[in-house]
């Protein structure tokens, strides 16, 4: 909103209307209000994309898209693969976005899980995910999980 507030100062009044009309149609990564106002959003979901680096962080941390960055396309595909693998392997357990952080040759995958299955099973899945993903991506993988009792713990607001 701040962006929109400051716009008129820089732009002549004539084009004001045009820009605002375009902004109205932007809907990527913005959640629709439900009729009853009871749709739960996590903190990450609550912020629209332009708040990244202001009130929330990125979901993928890497340097591939910088100048002379390596494998940008492959990294995007790998990230999508990791996300799908995680949500599938940890079926109905992930309560947050999956954050993928790349440092040197290590990939760290962070997520919040629900305490729905026994701890030994959680550990089994941790070992399985780390090992299988590292066979697939051929680099060390580390899982950084946090657990919450139920999904309401990660709800930031209802819309």
């Amino acid at each position: 909103m701040m962006f929109l507030d400051t716009l008129p100062r820089f732009l002549p009044a004539r084009s004001n209307y045009l820009i605002l009309s375009r902004c109205k149609h932007v809907q990527a990564a913005r959640y629709k209000r439900s009729i009853k106002g009871n749709k739960p959003l996590t903190y990450e979901m609550a912020g629209p994309p332009h708040t990244i680096a202001h009130i929330k962080g990125w979901n993928s941390w890497n340097t591939c898209n910088m100048l002379d960055g390596l494998r940008p396309a492959e990294t995007a595909i790998d990230d999508e693969f990791i996300r799908r693998f995680m949500t599938g392997t940890w079926h109905d357990l992930i309560a947050s976005e999956i954050i993928i952080k790349r440092q040197h040759d290590i990939i760290r995958i962070a997520a919040i899980t629900v305490q729905k299955i026994s701890v030994t099973k959680v550990y089994f899945l941790i070992g399985y995910t780390e090992e299988l993903l590292s066979y697939w991506l051929q680099c060390p993988i580390k899982l950084e999980l946090q657990t919450v009792e139920d999904r309401t713990a990660v709800v930031f607001k209802y819309i």
């Binding site: 040759d105 305490q115 701890v119 030994t120 550990y123 399985y128 090992e131 299988l132 051929q138 657990t147």
Partner: protein
């Protein structure tokens, strides 16, 4: 105009400053002219040296679990069972992934990493169709994969491909070292950590595969030379096939071979089973030593350890100590420094007799205190556990125990603790000694540091700790110890409960602050509830005794927990036939007095029924 002047002025002043700096520098230099600068020699550093240096600045955080566990309250283990279960679960998950990798190798043929990392690739399967030669076999032997090596050797034989004697020999070395079977891979750290203890219990059991591949390979060698004999003797002795090993040794002797030093060491070890009686064993050792001398083979560290190992089996003989010292003296002449394994054997030799106390451990500690220790013998990992046990049962000396502990924590010495089993035995002894010490603060210092992340006390040790608290009347620690007992799942251990309740009842002093009193009253209520709950589920089979309930009533009254006290009184009354004995009449009198004093008439009426 003015600006121009200003820049010129500035430039000028800068120059003067620089000049001044230069002159001051030259002044300093001339003053230090007399001192010669020694540039130290370049030290070659490995790529991880900086990381090691940084990590050496960090100390263990006693509030954090081991880093193999996930740092989340829900995922941190709190009992020995959980520690084991969680660590092994994770490893079993890794194994599942590994199984998938090897079950579907065709899916994992993509190459992403450069240079390729072999560990991430599926295992290669060797069969008839694969194109093999001797080099392939050499590579597999280098990687120490026993089953693959045997398979490839057999395939090569089938295809009539000639194998050089060198490769044959290294294959024999491999299969003898691993006893014809694949060893647990190094990747499965947790499995190794938790199963090594079982392996040690198999000590001195003959596990050598007598009709295994090693024997077949040995028999196919047409004219075995001294190397082949040495290898097979070592292999047999390693897996406790002592008789065969000794027979082969004699055979090699008859053929006039000079064996390798390690083969002689193995032959010395065979004395444990081949010979009976101290004298025969010693003669056997002497015989082999003279043969070594005749063949010009000097002894080494493992010769020393083998001899001492044999001596530990004949400790009932009074001569064994003398022999041990002789051996050590002999080793000194060869400039052989005893390692931890030698000291471990020495402890066994000198401290087997409980009557004649030997302070050899102190002498050993004097020797190793300043040294940086590293593993030199497989038995090295036994030392610290044995030393702590020695402190507990033999010397019964806390100071020595603390010295042992400080040596263990020094530098990288903790690597020598062995495995999970030895570690917990070590701490069991350590805490037992700490409990014998009078000061509770001292005990609790170590308790807070080590429990629960490094060590979780066994029930017997918990009992000792509770006893120590009782003796020292450390009332403020009861809530802490009770919550730990609950956490370690030891609340169903009868001796601990009895000890705790009795101790609490004995340590009720009117001088305590009101807050402490109240805490105790509440605590006794929770203890009562916890025991009742466990009795219902059948975890505790022990029946209530009158004295225990009486003690609980006393503590409740002491802490003004009248509700619980009344509940227990009712329980006493209702279940008279299940409760053994009766509480002290003084307890009942206290209860009545308390009720009258505080005007609790309902409670008084309840107890009146009881008195009828």
């Amino acid at each position: 105009m003015l600006n121009n002047y200003r820049t010129a002025f500035l430039r000028k002043s800068n120059e003067t400053i620089q000049l001044f700096r230069l002159s001051s520098n030259t002044l300093e230099k001339s003053s230090s002219n007399g001192i010669k600068i020694d540039i130290p020699k370049y030290i070659n550093r490995s790529s991880t040296d900086i990381l090691k240096a940084i990590s050496s600045t960090i100390q263990r955080d006693p509030t954090a679990a081991h880093f193999k566990y996930h740092d989340d309250p829900y995922l941190i283990p709190v009992s020995n069972f959980q520690k084991r279960a969680y660590a092994l679960s994770q490893e079993s998950g890794r194994k599942a992934a590994h199984w998938i990798l090897n079950q579907h190798p065709e899916l994992f043929n993509h190459k992403v990493a450069f240079p390729p990392i072999e560990k991430f690739c599926p295992n290669v399967v060797y069969d008839e169709s694969s194109d093999l030669d001797e080099n392939e076999l050499k590579i597999i032997i280098e990687k120490a994969i026993v089953s693959d090596a045997i398979a490839v050797y057999n395939l090569l034989k089938k295809k009539d491909i000639e194998i050089s004697s060198d490769t044959q020999q290294s294959l024999l070395e491999l299969v003898c070292f691993y006893n014809n079977q694949d060893d647990l891979e190094e990747d499965w750290i947790e499995e190794r950590w938790y199963t090594q203890a079982n392996k040690n219990r198999e000590e001195h059991r003959n596990t050598w595969k007598s009709n295994g591949f090693a024997m077949t390979l040995f028999s196919t060698i047409k004219s075995p030379n001294s190397y082949h004999y040495s290898i097979i003797i070592q292999g047999m002795a390693k897996y406790n096939q002592f008789e065969e090993a000794y027979n082969l040794y004699k055979e090699a002797k008859e053929k006039g071979f000079i064996l390798s030093i390690n083969a002689y060491n193995s032959a010395i070890k065979t004395a444990i089973y081949v010979k009976e009686g101290a004298d025969h064993k010693w003669l056997h050792i002497q015989e082999i030593l003279t043969q070594m001398n005749d063949s010009g083979v000097p002894m080494n560290l493992s010769t020393l350890n083998s001899i001492l190992n044999v001596l530990t089996t004949m400790t009932s003989n009074s001569e064994s100590k003398k022999y041990a010292l002789k051996t050590i003296a002999e080793a000194k002449q060869f400039d052989i420094e005893p390692c931890l394994a030698s000291y471990y054997y020495l402890l066994q030799i000198f401290c087997s007799d409980r009557k004649n106390k030997s302070t050899i451990l102190v002498d050993i500690l004097n020797l190793i205190e300043e040294k940086s220790l590293s593993i030199k013998d497989l038995a090295d990992t036994n030392f610290f556990t044995a030393a702590m046990e020695n402190c507990r049962y033999h010397l019964q000396n806390l100071d020595v125990a603390l010295r042992v502990h400080s040596i263990l924590l020094k530098a990288n010495n903790y690597n020598l603790i062995g495995d999970s089993y030895r570690e917990s035995v070590y701490y069991r002894h350590f805490f037992a000694i700490l409990c014998q010490n009078e000061s509770v603060e001292f005990l609790m210092k170590y308790y807070y540091d080590l429990v629960p992340h490094i060590y979780i006390p066994e029930p017997s040790i918990t009992e000792l700790i509770v006893k120590t608290l009782n003796v020292a009347a450390a009332v403020e620690l009861y809530p802490k110890i009770w919550s730990d007992i609950l956490m370690f799942d030891q609340a169903d251990r009868e001796p601990i409960i009895i000890e705790l309740i009795n101790g609490m009842a004995q340590n009720l002093f009117p001088s305590f602050e009101q807050s402490v009193k109240e805490k105790l009253g509440l605590l006794s209520g929770t203890i009562y509830d916890a025991i009742e709950e466990r009795k219902e589920t059948g975890k505790i089979k022990m029946p209530w005794t009158g004295t225990m309930l009486g003690n609980l009533i006393n503590i409740c009254l002491f802490g003004d927990n009248i509700n619980k006290a009344t509940e227990i009184i009712v329980k006493l009354h209702k279940n008279q036939n299940e409760i053994i004995g009766i509480p002290d009449s003084l307890t009942i009198a206290t209860f009545l007095d308390y009720c009258i004093e505080k005007n609790y008439f309902n409670e008084l009426l309840v107890s009146k029924i009881f008195r009828k």
